[in-house]
Symmetry: C2
Subunit: 141 residues, 2 copies
């Protein structure tokens, strides 16, 4: 894989997680290809097909207005021609007024290169059950 | 997409589910590319990388020897060059002596064309919560 492409795919992947954190639908819109065949699976959801439905699902997720941190780790990028597939672990923290919840998900993200930009065409995320140690706390001290 | 390729990818996807049903590791072996970078996410598991680890995970799943039916529905196939991505709903039934359990999962499967064969290089499956109606039963009458 061309090193520059690799960096660009990783950047597109990071941009997706920044859009997720932002809670702004317009940022999510700029990350995705607006095609009727794009697909999305949120943790615990079934398969969603088509940009309009995918967009609606993000709108529903963003509806709550909850502050969220979402950072990808263990990111791997592979590419063949104009198609790239990324895997990563999503580290999600959702903040409420006094508490926060953390969760991890495994993600498969596909990107298509179009006019020198890598656009998301597929997102599949699924929860990874966490083993919480006894001295862990979910309350901000 | 060339119609023949589409059929071949769909056949490779079906072959994967037949391998899953068979519980035979050698069938699962013949479906996958044996590369150190292939990836697999089983429902509720984290990301597994590399053929050896992926193979070990299937061995662990097959260990129980439980009879299983696994049929893909809502199959969609897309392809770009030598890479194809398939989405489907997995309809899983696991049989025990007197009962059976059914479950659905959303799946993303990637295949790479090599020497005219489409080999699995990525499998991501995640449970879809089922809404069970009151008169449903999981006991064979």
């Amino acid at each position: 894989m061309h090193p520059e492409d690799r960096i660009n795919v990783e950047e597109a992947n990071n941009e997706f997680y920044r859009a997720l954190e932002s809670g702004k639908l317009e940022l999510m819109e700029s990350v995705w290809a607006h095609e009727e065949w794009v697909k999305c699976v949120h943790p615990g959801w079934g398969l969603i097909t088509g940009w309009q439905r995918v967009k609606d699902s993000w709108a529903r997720i963003f509806e709550s207005g909850q502050k969220m941190r979402a950072s990808p780790t263990e990111v791997t990028v592979r590419e063949l021609g104009d198609l790239a597939w990324v895997t990563c672990t999503e580290n999600i923290t959702v903040f409420s007024e006094e508490n926060f919840d953390t969760a991890q998900a495994a993600a498969t993200n596909l990107f298509l290169k179009r006019d020198e930009r890598w656009l998301m065409i597929h997102h599949h995320a699924s929860a990874i059950p966490m083993i919480v140690s006894e001295d862990a706390t979910d309350t901000i001290q």
